[in-house]
C-alpha cells in the first residue's frame, strides 16, 4: 500500500511544512487547497478526525494501522498549524496519545493480562473511538427524524377576538434588553454580525416608510412631518437612503427635474388597503 502522490496545483500557492514548501501531498491527504480550511473546520475533534482517517481507508476501528494513522494524523495537525488554523488543544493531546501508543508498540510487549490491567492505551483508544462513533451515528439518526418547524407543522387557529383576560403580559424593559443582549451575544459567537450604527429612530422610520409606501408611491416631502423639525428630515432622509441601499425601495423620476417618487421595488404587486394600527 504505497502512498501515491499527486502534484499540488500551484495557482493557489504552495503550503509549507517545517518552513519547507510542501510540493507534494500524499494522495490521501489531497484536498483542493481552497477547500482545506472548510474541510478541517468540519471535524468535530480529534476522534472525529481519526475516525475519518480510518474510514476513508475502509478499515475497521479494530484494525487501526497505528503507524500509518499516526503519521497521517500528525500531517494533518502540521498542516493546520502551518495554515494557522485555530487548533484546539485536544488535537495535540491526541497526537501525544498516538505517539505514546506507537512507542509502546516499539517496546517489548508486557504479557496480555497486564496490558488490560494497566489500561493499554490502544485498548482505551479503540474503546473511545467505538463509543464516539455510536453517538456520531445516533446524532445522524436524530437529524433524520422529522422535526416541528422543518417537517412537522402544527395547525394553529385562534378566535378573532381574544378575551382581554387572556392577554399577554407586557414585558419589562429590562427583560427585553437582556433578551436582546443574549441573542446578540450568542450570534457574536457564531459569526461576526455588523453592529447597527444608525439611531434606532432611523430603523423605526424605515418601517414606517415601508408601511406608507404600500399605499402607493410617495414624494420625499410627503414622508416628512414638519412638526418634527430638522432632525425629523434628517432621520427620514437616512431611512430612505438605508432602504434604497438594501433594495427595499426604488427611487423613480419620470422626467428630468420631475419630482422624485419613492416606491416599493418594481415587482412589488400587492396594493393592499392595510394599516390596521395607524
Amino acid at each position: 500500500m504505497n502512498d501515491t502522490v499527486s502534484p499540488i496545483p500551484t495557482a493557489t500557492g504552495v503550503p509549507k511544512v517545517h518552513g519547507q514548501p510542501l510540493e507534494k501531498l500524499p494522495e490521501d491527504l489531497y484536498i483542493p487547497p481552497d477547500a482545506l480550511e472548510v474541510f478541517l473546520d468540519a471535524f468535530e475533534g480529534p476522534l472525529d478526525l481519526l475516525l475519518y482517517l480510518i474510514r476513508r481507508q475502509n478499515l475497521n476501528i479494530l484494525d487501526i494501522p497505528v503507524f500509518k494513522i499516526t503519521q497521517q494524523y500528525i500531517q494533518y495537525i502540521e498542516l493546520m498549524r502551518e495554515l494557522k488554523l485555530e487548533l484546539a488543544a485536544e488535537y495535540l493531546v491526541m497526537a501525544a496519545l498516538l505517539a505514546e501508543i506507537k512507542s509502546s508498540i516499539l517496546l517489548p510487549r508486557p504479557p496480555p493480562d497486564d496490558a488490560v490491567e494497566q489500561g493499554d492505551p490502544r485498548m482505551e483508544l479503540v474503546r473511545r473511538l467505538q463509543e464516539y462513533e455510536r453517538f456520531k451515528t445516533a446524532a445522524e439518526n436524530l437529524e433524520k427524524l422529522p422535526r416541528v418547524g422543518r417537517d412537522i407543522f402544527v395547525a394553529q387557529a385562534r378566535p378573532e377576538v381574544i378575551p382581554q383576560s387572556a392577554r399577554l403580559p407586557v414585558p419589562t424593559l429590562r427583560d427585553l434588553l437582556l433578551a436582546f443582549r443574549d441573542a446578540m451575544e450568542r450570534s457574536a459567537l457564531f459569526k461576526h454580525h455588523e453592529i447597527s450604527r444608525e439611531p434606532l429612530s432611523v430603523r423605526e422610520r424605515m418601517s414606517r416608510i415601508l408601511t406608507r409606501l404600500r399605499q402607493g408611491p410617495a414624494r420625499f416631502a410627503e414622508l416628512i412631518d414638519p412638526a418634527e423639525g430638522r432632525i425629523g428630515v434628517v432621520v427620514c432622509f437616512l431611512a430612505v437612503l438605508e432602504l434604497a441601499k438594501s433594495g427595499m425601495l426604488d427611487v423613480q423620476q419620470d422626467a428630468p427635474f420631475a419630482p422624485m417618487l419613492l416606491a416599493p421595488p418594481v415587482h412589488y404587486q400587492e396594493p393592499e388597503p392595510e394599516s390596521v394600527d395607524e
Binding site: V148, G149, R150, F153, V154, A155, Q156, A157, R158, P159, E160, V161, I162, P163, S165, A166, R167, L168, P169, V170, P171, L173, D175, L176, L177, A179, F180, R181, D182, A183, E185, R186, S187, F190, H193, I195, S196, P199, L200, S201, R203, E204, M206, S207, R208, L210, T211, L213, R214, G247, P264, P265, H267, Y268, E270, E272, P273, E274, V276, D277
Partner: protein, 238 residues
C-alpha cells in the same frame, strides 16, 4: 388517513375533482400553518405555477374550503391582509379558559424575537432565525402580531419575498416609551454596568411622568416644615 385522490362515487368524479380537492387541502394546510393571513397574491405566488391555478381557481377553492369547514370549530375568514382560519367566536370562551389556566408565556424566544424586531427592524423572520441560531415557532410571530406589538411593514425583494417586520406605536405605549431612541444603544447593552445605568435612567424617566402630573398642586404649596428631614434648616418666614 383517507387518500385525497379517492373520490366518492356518488359525486360523479370529473378528472378535475381530485385536483381541486388537493388544492382545497393545500390551502387549508397553508392557512392552518401560517403565522399571518395569506392574500390571494401570496397564495398565487406559492401555488400558481406548480398547481397551474389562477387567482379565480384560488377564490373558488377558498369558497369550497369555507363550505367544508361549516361543521367544524374553525372558519375561514377574510381580513384586511388576506385569509386566515380562525376559531369560531362561539368557542372563544373555552379558549380563554385555556389561556387563563396556561397563559401563553412571554418565553425567552418571544422576548428575543421582539427585542430583535425593536433593534433591527425592518427585519425578516429568516434574519431573526439567523441571529438566534434556531428556527422560530410560527406561534411567536402570530402572537406578537395579535398583540399588535409588531406588524408587517413590507417584503424583502429577495427570493421568496419574505415579510419585513417592524414595531408599532402600541409597543412603545405598552413599554412607556416615547420613541425607540430612548432605548439604550448596543454598546451600552453589552456592558452590564452601563446597562444598569441606562435602565436606571429609563426608570427615572418613566417615573417622572406621574410626578409631573402630580406636580402642580404640590409644588405651589408652601413646603410643610414637618415633612422635611430634620437635618434641613427650617425655612425662615418673615
Amino acid at each position: 388517513m383517507s387518500d385525497p385522490t379517492v373520490i366518492d362515487d356518488t359525486n360523479e368524479p370529473a378528472p378535475d375533482d381530485a385536483q381541486s380537492q388537493v388544492l382545497e387541502r393545500v390551502l387549508e394546510a397553508l392557512l392552518l400553518a401560517s403565522d399571518q393571513p395569506l392574500s390571494i397574491e401570496q397564495l398565487h405566488r406559492l401555488l400558481g405555477n406548480e398547481l397551474g391555478v389562477g387567482k379565480k381557481d384560488l377564490r373558488a377553492a377558498l369558497a369550497r374550503l369555507d363550505a367544508a369547514l361549516a361543521g367544524r370549530a374553525a372558519e375561514l375568514c377574510e381580513v384586511a391582509s388576506g385569509f386566515r382560519i380562525q376559531v369560531r367566536q362561539e368557542y372563544a370562551e373555552w379558549v380563554s379558559k385555556l389561556w387563563q389556566e396556561k397563559p401563553p408565556r412571554l418565553s425567552r424566544a418571544l422576548l428575543e424575537t421582539l427585542a430583535l424586531i425593536c433593534y433591527r427592524q425592518p427585519i425578516t423572520r429568516g434574519e431573526i432565525e439567523e441571529i438566534r441560531g434556531v428556527a422560530l415557532s410560527p406561534n411567536i410571530i402570530r402572537t406578537l402580531l395579535e398583540r399588535n406589538w409588531i406588524r408587517e411593514v413590507g417584503v424583502k425583494e429577495v427570493p421568496g419575498r419574505p415579510s419585513l417586520f417592524g414595531t408599532t406605536q402600541q409597543l412603545l405605549d405598552d413599554l412607556g416609551l416615547k420613541s425607540l431612541d430612548d432605548l439604550p444603544s448596543l454598546p451600552e447593552i453589552k456592558d452590564p454596568q452601563q446597562l444598569e445605568a441606562a435602565l436606571q435612567r429609563l426608570g427615572e424617566q418613566l417615573h417622572e411622568i406621574p410626578h409631573i402630573a402630580d406636580a402642580p398642586s404640590e409644588a405651589i404649596q408652601t413646603p410643610d416644615p414637618d415633612a422635611m428631614s430634620p437635618a434641613d434648616p427650617p425655612p425662615t418666614v418673615h
